[in-house]
Structures are given as C-alpha cells and as structure tokens.
Symmetry: C2
Subunit: 227 residues, 2 copies
Amino acid sequence: MSIEIPQCKLVYSKYFPFWEKLTDDQRERLCANTGEFRFRKGTNIHGLGDVCTGAIMVISGSLRAYLLSENGREITLYRFKKGEVCMLSASCVLKSITFDVIIDAEEDSEAYIVRGDVMAKVAEENLYVENYALDNAVKRFSDVVWVMQQIMFLSLDKRLAVFLWDESVRNGSNKITLTHEQIAKYISSAREAVTRMLRYFAGEGIVEVTRRGITITDKEKLRKLIM
Amino acid sequence: MSIEIPQCKLVYSKYFPFWEKLTDDQRERLCANTGEFRFRKGTNIHGLGDVCTGAIMVISGSLRAYLLSENGREITLYRFKKGEVCMLSASCVLKSITFDVIIDAEEDSEAYIVRGDVMAKVAEENLYVENYALDNAVKRFSDVVWVMQQIMFLSLDKRLAVFLWDESVRNGSNKITLTHEQIAKYISSAREAVTRMLRYFAGEGIVEVTRRGITITDKEKLRKLIM
C-alpha cells in the first residue's frame, strides 16, 4: 500500500537523522518508493529467500530479528519498536552484510519499507545516508556478539534457566524472590550478566521481571532452554 | 617508537581510502600521533583491560582477533595481514562497539597504531573517516556472525573435526583425499560451509588444504576441538 507523501516526509524527518541533509529530490524518491505495510502477529517479513527487502521503519508494534538453524533452533538477536529502523534487511545497501537475519512481526505491526535499490542509490549519492546505514548495523553488532558470547561460552542462558526451574520446583511457585546478585552467586556469574540475560528472557516472554522478583510466565519455553 | 612523518603519509595514502579527503592538518595530526611497534609472536596488543588502543594498521606479520571465555576458551574471529586495519581496537572511535576483542601478534609483526583519541577527533571532523571506521567494523560483522553461527547451531567445527580425526585413524595417515563435496555429504553439511570451515582450520594451523587434499598438521589442536 503506498502512503501519502507528506505523511511519509513527516515521519522520516522525525526518525531519520540524515533527513535534513537530503536534497528535495532525494526526499521525494525515498517517499515515492515507500510502502506502508500491516503485518499480523507472526508474519514473516524478511529473510526466507535472498531478497533485499529494504529499510524497515516500525510505525507500531514490534519486529523480531533472529537467526535460524537448519534444525529449527532460533536465536533472537534484537527487537525493533516504534521509530526504530532495520537496515540489515537492506543487504543491497550494506553490501558487506552477508548473513541472513530473519525478521518477523512479533505483534500486529505497521511498518514503512523503503525499496532497497532506491535506498542504495540515495546512500551512494549521499554520504550521510551511507553513514546512517553503517552506524545502524554497527549498533547491532555489539548486541549480537553479546548474545552469542553468553550462549556459546558460558551457556548462561541454560544455567540461568536450570536455576529458575529448580527454584520454582523447590518452592512450588512460579515466583522467585532472590535478587539478581544472589542468583549470580548461585550460578557463578556476574550480577550485570544475570540482569541482562533476565531482560533477554523477559523479551522472549519466558519471565516477567519486576522490582519484587521474577515470575516465570512460560514454563514450556523455559523447559526448552534446559533440554 | 615514533615514525618518520613522510614514511607514515606514504603508507597511509596507500591504505586509508579517506586519505585524499583529509586536510593537511588532519594528515599531520594522524601521523604525528602514530607509533610504530614491533611485536614478538604471541604478544598481546589489545583487549586485556578496557583501553582504547587505537586504530592498528599491520605493516608486516599477522594479528589475530579473538574472544576469550572465563574458562579460557578462545574463538578466533579474524586475522589482519599487511595493509589491513583493525578499528575494533579503537572503541573511542566506534562508541557503539561494547564487546571486548582481544588482539595478539600471531607472528613477529610490525604495526602502526594511531592514538584512539586523535583518530576519534578526526572522525568527528571528517565524515569520510567516520564512514571508513564504521564500514571497517561492519565488514567484520558478517565474519563474526558466520563463525558463531557455525559453532553454535551446527557444531560444524566439531563435526568436521571428528570426521577428519576418524578418517585419519581409519587410514593410518594424516592425509585425507576426499573432496569437500564428499566430506559435506558425510557430515550432512553444505560444500561451501565445509570449504569455509577448512579455511578456518587452516588459519588455526590445524590442517593444510591443497588441491590434492587435506593434511592434518596439528593433531593436538584437532583433538581439542573434539573434546
């Protein structure tokens, strides 16, 4: 579905930091090649197939980027919320990105998608746009390394999952009232690593974390981590 | 050790694509803040401690960037050879890089190192330099994801190591004369993945790969992958 150009320009001027560095013609081209999409929860948006989907800006809802193994195991890399932009789905803009990220709508979502080839052309013409695309990718780099490092080296996800499971069985409750500090001691990790992994679990819908403790909200998902 | 400014400018003009976009003053500052270093094989150059070492340009030899786990497990991410530049050691330039890569000299090596804060200042002034730094990091992003994906999802390193080990025992020889295609079939992988992992093993000194076959050159390292 194509969108109203003035509406597009309004949104882009708010969320694209390079917007004021563009010529009128470049702004026009980006908006004329933007589609507005509505995705139902669970819809695949990018990554099954080798297509340059384009730059995706979330208008509402939430998108999830993840890697998928041959045997179906998934690893969530990060999420995009309102106003956030995914450039990893525009491999024609970022030519050195050669891995396949898959992107799904995690909730009912709306997004603007700028055609990849048009974005690539503008990035070629305008250094600020290229800079933005690269910076957007580098920002994700650290997140991705962190997730992978924890899982590969420390199996922190597994250790934390086992601990939460055991605690919940021991207490006959889904609530765990220990502090992150205490949990870190039990599983020989660092407080901040536990906090970050709990945030990751929360994002996956496995737990809810409040100041008063941790609540397991999806036992089945937690169990899968342990196996 | 400080270096001759004209010599520095000559080298940088050859390897830094942004060189012609700099002002004379910027060139002067970069070279005046460049040190020439010689590292013996095995020396640690960056990453033990939270310091912005700077941009490292390899003049001769080879540097290795890797991640280190708490229990001492290493994962090689990539190598830098002559003329290649490592920006991940300049976290003050790339502020969104928050993970710690460790960099060692893998052979006796020489490198120019530009002070991180000086590089950061020039990158702030000149968009071409910032773009270069970001692009340099993004290029590594795909390598890192590939390595991690193989290890995490597929244990391809392990499967390939087990296969090479078994073959070598079966034949009573360190030579394996199967094609990559054949090996891929045996371990249910793809030919190109096997080729790439063999290249990774070769980089680690575990095997030598020629058109005539694969030779195991370090049995101990191979065995460690299996355990």
